[in-house]
Symmetry: D2
Subunit: 219 residues, 4 copies
């Protein structure tokens, strides 16, 4: 009896619609734009499908312009947890640094870390996998003379430290962007290599982010 | 029978240890200092006892230096909800305004309101009573020439609006401090009337806050 | 002989081209725009001519966008002294306050005063008459809740103090704008009463400035 | 005849009281402290005397705490030109960058360059030799994660450009400090290598500055 019964179950499972791995991209305006046509999220979706994994993954953008780390924390119940993701990719930090200079409303380094850890705790409590990203760039100059370079490195170090301490996968966009620019930005331009405006991604920037994230997701 | 029975119940209730109304003061360094000897919290406790209500109220300080509205939100589960208060007095806003100028890490007005409302929602969900306060002062000059006067008024307006919209009691410290200074600060000094350093309370400042809060608590 | 000679001199003086009083408007983008059609400088010129004083005054704009007090000091040799004016109207201060919040590059109050006095000294050394102005507005709200109201009042106080100490005529635009708004801005709007964008003047703002300045110039 | 005459001239020159080369150090609090015992100015004086050149040079400190480039411009007539120096060493830029974050009163990059050039013009007009310095450090971390690293590099680049364009000697302290730290600051500390507090010089910092400046002066 059992021998007969078993193959039937396997068969029925094979025909059952497989539950897709839901990946939520959680971030600021870069992620918001990343969900548009040509953005890194549809690019990841394309790569995924090309590799025949289209029935295995589902990609959801959750980026809102102007967001800092505490904004993510505030809206994560509604925008992330309520959607029951399997994986969350956190890409935050640019505004936390940038808004110090443009409106006096950036985020202190110690509080950046505190809120980042609070987000991770909530995700961990629900067994949601997390991939961290460092913030890529505010300015693409390669001689470290972009106004926020020091702070961008400091906040990236915080994220790297959190990743290491918690043994979490890290997409080190800050490093990738710098490496790419060191090779390709021979005129020391502040934009136009991977960004349109020093911050937001052009086609090449979106592809670079897509490549790195897709690699991390597949793992 | 009934006539006999009723007084007994009343009698037994009178001897039962009455559950005290727990009041938590939730705020920044002003509240943190307010819990020290001479601070407004022990002053409220004294007034409460003088009025023979010492067995009816319990006062708990929950102020942390440097806190802004989002810091309250982050730590409210642990520092407020876990203590099951009956009343929470929220006194926040000075750092949200001040840190714009001193470290570029203040809070945008729209986000100030968002986090404030998020705190209120969590308290309302647990039927905890709330008393709101406007931030008193960054500088006591009476000709509206303290650097942050405009923003302090703007953020106080936000809190007043929230109180009105939600029909919540408001201790309008900003107004009380200004009124007091208009009468008593005849030399247009920036400190020394109700504050020691433009922000933190001297004895008179602590008493004024204690008077206003105690009035609001008794209601 | 003398009787004959005297009238001839008077006659010849009457036909001599009279040296006009040259008035230079020295300031920032508000003054720069004030030189355009509809701006307060052509409006002053029109009023002057209507009053039959067109041959007595010459009006020259010297406003440059983004200027702070030290920018005026830096360019005053070339843009003011080299033109040998009789009167200079200094209208500065908005950017000294505003840029603190928008780019972290405002001017400290003590240095604002220092540079202001240094400008006055150079003008006094050449016997050039000076008229001072307070900066009108960054936001027109009448409940003192425009972000920079405190600082705008503080820097206006500095200018008022300099005017008083040196016995110089003052066009107190800050006060005039507030008085006008208290009467006319019944909805507590932040723009649209005397400014287009909280800072730069609309037609009514230009006329108000023109009226006040022309009164001061005629004296 | 000639053989006799020549030595006499040399002899008479040797006995004439030689006019010393007056070197003024023009800067901010780093230069102000540099004039104190143990500071780089007395260190330069000592080195000068050890090399037997004590009768050839005179060193004068002209540093004032909190100074930015426009403060130097404002006070250069009184503090520099009136003292008729032969050489002026300009060491400015830290506060122009730093005060953006600490009080919102830093200096825009374009205006930094403008005032710097205006200072140079005044010195050139009087045939005073100039030595330029880049600002050394706000933080000594060697992974480019000091908050102001980007801006410090940007403003140093401005000074390097001015030196190159005008063919002026440059003491590139920014580079020297970084090189020294890359070798000696193996723990990536933010202070304590060449500075006491991330900005002001300890004994080693003063010696390094003294060495570099003295080399430039002798040339």
């Amino acid at each position: 009896m059992k021998k007969l019964f078993f193959p039937l179950i396997i068969l029925s499972l094979a025909f059952m619609p497989q539950k897709k791995t839901k990946v939520i991209f959680f971030g600021d305006s870069i992620t918001q734009a990343g969900a548009n046509a040509g953005g890194y999220i549809p690019r990841i979706d394309s790569m995924c499908k090309k590799e025949g994994l289209g029935d295995r993954f589902e990609f959801v953008g959750a980026g809102i312009s102007g967001n800092k780390v505490y904004d993510l924390y505030l809206r994560m119940d509604e925008d992330v947890l309520a959607k029951s993701p399997d994986v969350v990719i956190i890409y935050i930090g640019v505004n936390d640094v940038w808004h110090k200079a443009t409106s006096g409303t950036g985020t202190d380094a110690d509080k950046f870390e505190k809120f980042y850890n609070a987000i991770l705790k909530k995700l961990k409590d629900r067994n949601i996998k997390v991939i961290l990203c460092t913030p890529a760039a505010i300015g693409e100059k390669v001689d470290f003379s972009n106004q926020q370079d020091g702070d961008m490195n400091a906040y990236s170090n915080i994220i790297r430290g959190i990743a290491q301490k918690n043994n979490l996968p890290l997409v080190d966009l800050r490093k990738s962007f710098l490496d790419y620019n060191l090779k390709n930005n021979t005129e020391n331009k502040d934009r136009g290599i991977l960004t349109t405006d020093r911050v937001h991604l052009n086609a090449k920037g979106n592809q670079l982010v897509a490549d790195e994230m897709w690699n991390a997701i597949k793992k």
